[in-house]
Symmetry: C2
Subunit: 434 residues, 2 copies
């Protein structure tokens, strides 16, 4: 507190991992020492660092800091108060480092969404049992302070829904496919050459990275245990340039959208390509930018947009947590005591929504009638339908339905297959109502 | 903390003011008791309330709470730990209530932008001297947790610029003028009949309410003392439907935009109608929604969008502060100790920007040349120029300049007047680069 008569002791950081984000943190501490001290009420210093190679060429000078080859040893150093874990990965040294830090009575800040999506409950219990902080703003949506918003600023709300576009690489690929008129495979290859993809690209384009983030948001928003396996997961590999164009023609954009929603039937969590109305901010999100939309019962809808990755934005998120801890903020990891988090009751059936259906029909009398009959029998009514001109015997047909459950849609898709009038597989994507 | 063995004592609220926001707070506390207790780590209870009339018909039952006719007496009650000031007004009972609460050793949460814009420094010193919290999330941009974002989540950044559309009534009027093609006076009257305007409408349409909010954001962002009088202030009364249409024709929307920007020449603070590119989220903001854009050196650009007013959103902001205080969070009022806040060095000249200039010229040879000469002599170069068709002797001309300082623009406007070719007054509006 400002009224404190004697200067507060510095907060001494140990940084495990000196990749892009780690170096970004080093730079902020070096650049903004006096500013950080004024804001935090005490100096913030780097005591020691750890990475795979000490003498690698880096864009910040780390020679003044202690060095450890082993992040677990870093986590146990007596001159470290707070461990920043930037190693990554859901197991291995990252997990060992966080566990060692908490066991040694140190606070932890991490950007590791995979670790928390898999082990969040156990780590939260460990942190709270030790009376330490475990904070993870940088794990979700880069520089957007969404963990703080959900866990603190919006604490007066029962949350209704949290949505987000949280993987910049996927958003880049989808928006580039549309703007350049290129197929998925071509843009995927571009993204790889630009260095936008993880070593295992499935983490990005398979939606796994974004789903890790969604699992953390859902736990915070709904007071549930993190449950990554409950997420319905579908990547962007099957999104075609044709669907992007036809969706646009109907007034929608296709996004890899994460949605966590508490319904009467339980908690729905999905990370799938969805259509969103082109007038909503989600649809207007280009390139690597991230967006999170939060709906609370008092708040209404809050939209947060910012850089989802990169040295500066992610380091900004890390430093927000560091300053909080320097100021003495102590919060339960997921916004309420870990012991009070309930297992998320997974919703067996997702909430009803309009759907986008695209199919190719044999161009013969009665084909469309058969499709319409199947929909009617499945209890699905048609909002809009377009049959596009064609030069061969294959008629492209696009249908936007009124609200239907995913079960009803599955029934309809099975029914389509039995009609014998379809060419190839139909495409079905949910239209998220925003 | 969750590891605490004995239940924590409740936090007892005293609510001064039972208008829209006060009743919203009552409803949240009544509706979400167990949820709030889980999140805050202790029960949150209403001990007493105060308003101008006890028996007015209200949409929430307040009969179980203590009653005071005098808010200062409420602030001093022994059974109140935290005073929520929702009276409003920059002096009078609101100020007396906050001062009395702090003097009595109680924490304060307020939604009162006018009070803090005028007396923020003194009240911050009083709060910090007493070791109490004074928080004001609800004072700026309704449900958007922007005070928390700026003061906490983004604490690792040196801020570059904070911008916002923070008066929903003005934004409603401007967007309605465009969508309905109606003049200012007509839409103003509509807004009055819809109850969108303050008792003194100048607070809204004169930009004063929004400027109060900007003054608070600037103090937080730049570590300066709140300095409302340093804000260059211009309301929306002079914005014409013609300018809205012509700006759109050039690819811009007109917004009442607040900007606080640290420049080499000092802190620039303005709340004026500005043009923003129609592709930016600021331009796409309709009706009563608010938006705040924050630019930090590490973060890049963060955009926050949400409801700027109303019972639920504003009460949500109040409750975020209440839960923070219940959790024991203690922060300097403006993000760093009040004693360390420096007087804002006002920038005498605003940063250079492109400008929108509209004028009507006498339709005679050489008129446009005279205007172009004046601009050239003022050192202002033209980016785009359009002369519109006309049926009389008056030629409407629209110019978008390259970057120019406000001083240069003033010189040019004076020069225009001397040419003798202008009909009426020219319009000059800054184009904010986003």
């Amino acid at each position: 507190m400002p009224s404190s008569p004697s200067p507060a002791p510095p907060l001494r950081l140990g940084i495990a991992g000196l990749g892009t984000v780690g170096i970004g943190v080093v730079k902020i501490v070096q650049r903004h020492g006096p500013l950080l001290a004024r804001r935090a009420g005490r100096p913030i210093e780097i005591a020691a660092v750890c990475a795979s190679s000490r003498h690698k060429n880096r864009s910040a000078d780390i020679s003044a800091y202690g060095w450890e080859d082993d992040p677990v040893a870093l986590a146990r150093r007596d001159d470290v108060d707070l461990v920043i874990e930037l190693i990554g990965g859901e197991n291995g040294p990252a997990k060992a480092t966080v566990e060692a830090a908490l066991a040694a009575g140190k606070d932890v800040v991490t950007a590791n969404k995979a670790l928390l999506a898999r082990h969040g409950q156990a780590l939260a219990e460990a942190a709270e049992g030790a009376g330490r902080s475990l904070r993870f703003e940088a794990a979700v949506a880069g520089g957007i302070p969404v963990i703080k918003a959900l866990g603190e600023g919006l604490a007066g709300n029962a949350m209704r829904r949290v949505m987000g576009v949280m993987n910049g690489t996927c958003n880049y690929i989808l928006t580039r496919m549309e703007s350049a008129g290129l197929p998925y495979e071509t843009v995927f290859e571009e993204a790889r050459q630009l260095g936008y993809l993880e070593a295992d690209p499935e983490l990005d384009v398979g939606g796994i990275d974004a789903a890790h983030k969604l699992a953390l948001l859902a736990a915070l928003a709904f007071g549930c245990r993190v449950d990554f396996d409950a997420i319905e997961l579908q990547g962007i590999g099957a999104v075609s340039i044709q669907d992007i164009r036809l969706a646009r023609d109907m007034g929608f954009a296709i996004k890899l959208l994460g949605v966590a929603q508490m319904t009467g039937r339980g908690l729905e969590q999905r990370m799938t390509p969805c259509l969103v109305p082109e007038t909503h901010p989600l649809a207007q999100l280009d390139g690597g930018t991230n967006m999170v939309v939060i709906e609370g019962d008092a708040l209404g809808q809050l939209v947060l947009r910012g850089a989802g990755a990169g040295e500066g934005p992610t380091a900004s998120a890390v430093m927000g947590d560091v300053v909080d801890i320097a100021r003495g903020l102590r919060l339960p990891v997921f916004g309420q005591p870990a012991a009070s988090l309930v297992p998320a009751p997974p919703a067996a059936v997702s909430a009803a929504a309009p759907w986008y259906l695209r199919m190719v029909l044999l161009d013969k009398p009665g084909a469309l009638a058969k499709i319409a009959t199947v929909l009617g029998e499945a209890g699905i009514s048609i909002d809009r339908m377009r049959q596009y001109g064609h030069d061969d015997a294959h008629a492209p047909v696009l249908i936007v339905t009124h609200k239907a459950s995913s079960d009803d849609i599955r029934v309809a898709l099975d029914g389509f297959a039995e009609t014998g009038v379809l060419v190839g597989e139909p495409v079905a994507m949910r239209i998220e109502e925003v």
